[in-house]
Protein backbone atom coordinates (compact mmCIF):
# COMPACT_ATOMS: atom_id res chain seq x y z
CA UNK A 1 0.00 0.00 0.00
CA UNK A 2 1.22 3.47 -0.89
CA UNK A 3 0.55 6.87 0.67
CA UNK A 4 -0.10 9.34 -2.14
CA UNK A 5 -1.55 12.74 -2.91
CA UNK A 6 -4.24 13.28 -5.56
CA UNK A 7 -2.74 15.59 -8.19
CA UNK A 8 -5.24 15.26 -11.03
CA UNK A 9 -7.48 13.09 -13.16
CA UNK A 10 -7.34 11.66 -16.66
CA UNK A 11 -10.15 11.52 -19.18
CA UNK A 12 -10.36 8.48 -21.43
CA UNK A 13 -13.17 7.27 -23.69
CA UNK A 14 -11.46 4.27 -25.28
CA UNK A 15 -10.36 2.04 -22.42
CA UNK A 16 -10.56 -1.47 -21.07
CA UNK A 17 -14.21 -2.26 -20.24
CA UNK A 18 -13.34 -2.71 -16.57
CA UNK A 19 -12.36 0.99 -16.35
CA UNK A 20 -15.76 2.25 -17.49
CA UNK A 21 -17.61 4.05 -14.75
CA UNK A 22 -14.53 4.49 -12.60
CA UNK A 23 -12.69 7.73 -12.08
CA UNK A 24 -8.97 7.44 -12.87
CA UNK A 25 -6.82 9.79 -10.82
CA UNK A 26 -3.17 10.84 -11.00
CA UNK A 27 -1.47 10.14 -7.66
CA UNK A 28 1.87 11.41 -6.42
CA UNK A 29 3.45 8.89 -4.01
CA UNK A 30 4.71 10.52 -0.79
CA UNK A 31 7.34 9.47 1.71
CA UNK A 32 6.91 9.46 5.50
CA UNK A 33 7.61 13.21 5.67
CA UNK A 34 5.13 14.06 2.94
CA UNK A 35 7.79 14.67 0.30
CA UNK A 36 7.19 13.57 -3.27
CA UNK A 37 8.71 10.21 -4.01
CA UNK A 38 9.01 8.94 -7.57
CA UNK A 39 6.87 9.61 -10.64
CA UNK A 40 3.07 10.01 -10.56
CA UNK A 41 0.89 6.88 -10.84
CA UNK A 42 -2.62 6.28 -12.12
CA UNK A 43 -5.23 4.63 -9.91
CA UNK A 44 -8.96 4.10 -9.98
CA UNK A 45 -10.81 5.99 -7.29
CA UNK A 46 -14.16 4.70 -6.00
CA UNK A 47 -14.37 7.39 -3.28
CA UNK A 48 -14.17 10.57 -5.33
CA UNK A 49 -11.14 11.87 -3.41
CA UNK A 50 -10.56 15.60 -3.72
CA UNK A 51 -7.62 17.28 -5.37
CA UNK A 52 -4.51 17.33 -3.12
CA UNK A 53 -6.13 15.03 -0.57
CA UNK A 54 -3.94 12.27 0.76
CA UNK A 55 -5.05 8.74 -0.07
CA UNK A 56 -3.85 5.20 0.47
CA UNK A 57 -3.43 3.14 -2.70
CA UNK A 58 -3.59 -0.63 -2.85
CA UNK A 59 -1.37 -2.21 -5.51
CA UNK A 60 -3.11 -5.57 -5.25
CA UNK A 61 -4.48 -6.53 -8.65
CA UNK A 62 -6.68 -9.24 -7.13
CA UNK A 63 -8.52 -6.76 -4.92
CA UNK A 64 -9.04 -4.39 -7.85
CA UNK A 65 -10.35 -7.17 -10.08
CA UNK A 66 -12.84 -8.09 -7.37
CA UNK A 67 -13.88 -4.44 -7.01
CA UNK A 68 -14.58 -3.97 -10.74
CA UNK A 69 -16.23 -7.43 -10.96
CA UNK A 70 -14.00 -8.39 -13.88
CA UNK A 71 -11.58 -11.31 -13.42
CA UNK A 72 -9.83 -10.26 -16.64
CA UNK A 73 -9.19 -6.65 -15.66
CA UNK A 74 -5.60 -5.43 -16.09
CA UNK A 75 -6.05 -2.81 -13.35
CA UNK A 76 -3.83 -2.81 -10.30
CA UNK A 77 -3.83 0.48 -8.36
CA UNK A 78 -6.94 1.49 -6.47
CA UNK A 79 -7.71 4.05 -3.76
CA UNK A 80 -8.74 2.14 -0.65
CA UNK A 81 -8.73 4.97 1.90
CA UNK A 82 -8.81 8.75 2.11
CA UNK A 83 -6.69 10.28 4.89
CA UNK A 84 -8.73 12.09 7.53
CA UNK A 85 -6.28 14.93 8.11
CA UNK A 86 -8.20 17.69 6.37
CA UNK A 87 -4.95 19.11 5.05
CA UNK A 88 -5.28 20.14 1.44
CA UNK A 89 -1.54 20.70 1.07
CA UNK A 90 -0.83 17.05 1.74
CA UNK A 91 1.46 17.84 4.65
CA UNK A 92 1.63 15.40 7.58
Amino acid sequence: MILARVDGVIVSTVCHPSMRGSRTIICQPLDERGREEGPPLLAIDPFGAGEHQRVVLSTDGGATRAFVHDPKSPLRNMVIAVANDGDAAGQP
Binding site: D7, I10, S12, L41, S73
Partner: protein, 98 residues
Amino acid sequence: MRLGYVIGKVTLSQQDPSYTGGRFLLVQPLSKEQFKGAPMTPLAKGNSLVVYDNLGAGPGTLVGFTEGSEAAMPFEQPTPVDAYNASLVDRVLYHPSV
Protein backbone atom coordinates in the same frame (compact mmCIF):
# COMPACT_ATOMS: atom_id res chain seq x y z
CA MET B 1 -0.74 2.14 -14.07
CA ARG B 2 1.46 4.78 -15.61
CA LEU B 3 1.04 7.37 -18.35
CA GLY B 4 3.16 7.05 -21.47
CA TYR B 5 3.64 8.59 -24.89
CA VAL B 6 3.66 6.25 -27.89
CA ILE B 7 6.88 6.81 -29.84
CA GLY B 8 6.70 3.88 -32.26
CA LYS B 9 5.46 0.42 -33.15
CA VAL B 10 7.10 -2.97 -33.21
CA THR B 11 6.28 -5.14 -36.23
CA LEU B 12 6.62 -8.89 -35.81
CA SER B 13 7.08 -11.58 -38.42
CA GLN B 14 6.24 -14.43 -36.07
CA GLN B 15 4.36 -14.23 -32.83
CA ASP B 16 2.61 -16.24 -30.17
CA PRO B 17 -0.97 -16.90 -31.37
CA SER B 18 -2.41 -15.29 -28.24
CA TYR B 19 -1.16 -11.87 -29.43
CA THR B 20 -3.52 -11.98 -32.42
CA GLY B 21 -5.68 -8.89 -32.70
CA GLY B 22 -3.22 -6.56 -31.02
CA ARG B 23 0.02 -4.77 -31.72
CA PHE B 24 3.11 -3.81 -29.86
CA LEU B 25 3.92 -0.17 -29.18
CA LEU B 26 7.08 1.51 -28.03
CA VAL B 27 6.07 3.73 -25.13
CA GLN B 28 8.05 6.37 -23.26
CA PRO B 29 6.72 6.97 -19.71
CA LEU B 30 6.00 10.66 -19.04
CA SER B 31 8.25 12.81 -16.88
CA LYS B 32 6.76 14.99 -14.16
CA GLU B 33 7.31 18.06 -16.37
CA GLN B 34 5.34 16.43 -19.18
CA PHE B 35 2.46 15.76 -16.78
CA LYS B 36 2.47 19.54 -16.24
CA GLY B 37 2.22 20.18 -19.98
CA ALA B 38 5.82 20.24 -21.23
CA PRO B 39 6.21 19.10 -24.86
CA MET B 40 6.68 15.37 -25.52
CA THR B 41 9.91 16.03 -27.42
CA PRO B 42 12.66 15.87 -26.35
CA LEU B 43 11.64 12.57 -24.82
CA ALA B 44 11.63 12.04 -21.07
CA LYS B 45 14.64 10.38 -19.50
CA GLY B 46 14.42 6.73 -18.55
CA ASN B 47 13.82 3.56 -20.49
CA SER B 48 11.06 3.20 -23.03
CA LEU B 49 9.17 -0.09 -23.05
CA VAL B 50 7.15 -2.32 -25.34
CA VAL B 51 3.43 -2.35 -24.51
CA TYR B 52 0.75 -4.68 -25.92
CA ASP B 53 -2.21 -2.75 -27.32
CA ASN B 54 -5.58 -3.79 -28.72
CA LEU B 55 -7.35 -0.42 -28.45
CA GLY B 56 -5.80 1.09 -31.58
CA ALA B 57 -3.14 3.45 -30.29
CA GLY B 58 -0.44 4.72 -32.64
CA PRO B 59 2.58 6.99 -32.53
CA GLY B 60 1.69 10.27 -30.82
CA THR B 61 -1.05 8.78 -28.61
CA LEU B 62 -1.03 9.23 -24.84
CA VAL B 63 -1.78 5.91 -23.13
CA GLY B 64 -2.34 4.55 -19.63
CA PHE B 65 -0.63 1.18 -19.33
CA THR B 66 -0.42 -1.41 -16.59
CA GLU B 67 2.64 -3.49 -15.79
CA GLY B 68 3.40 -6.72 -14.03
CA SER B 69 1.28 -9.85 -13.81
CA GLU B 70 -1.93 -7.83 -14.21
CA ALA B 71 -0.91 -7.08 -17.82
CA ALA B 72 -1.58 -10.71 -18.74
CA MET B 73 -5.00 -10.92 -17.05
CA PRO B 74 -7.13 -9.87 -20.07
CA PHE B 75 -5.86 -12.81 -22.17
CA GLU B 76 -7.74 -16.09 -22.50
CA GLN B 77 -4.68 -18.26 -21.89
CA PRO B 78 -1.44 -17.59 -20.03
CA THR B 79 0.44 -15.10 -22.22
CA PRO B 80 3.93 -13.67 -21.86
CA VAL B 81 3.00 -9.98 -21.55
CA ASP B 82 4.14 -7.58 -18.86
CA ALA B 83 2.82 -4.25 -20.12
CA TYR B 84 -0.74 -3.75 -21.38
CA ASN B 85 -2.35 -0.61 -22.75
CA ALA B 86 -5.57 -0.17 -20.75
CA SER B 87 -6.68 3.27 -21.95
CA LEU B 88 -6.26 5.91 -24.64
CA VAL B 89 -5.99 9.17 -22.74
CA ASP B 90 -7.95 12.11 -24.17
CA ARG B 91 -7.09 14.65 -21.52
CA VAL B 92 -4.80 15.03 -18.53
CA LEU B 93 -5.89 17.40 -15.75
CA TYR B 94 -2.85 17.71 -13.51
CA HIS B 95 -2.46 20.29 -10.73
CA PRO B 96 0.39 19.33 -8.41
CA SER B 97 0.47 21.28 -5.16
CA VAL B 98 3.48 23.57 -4.69
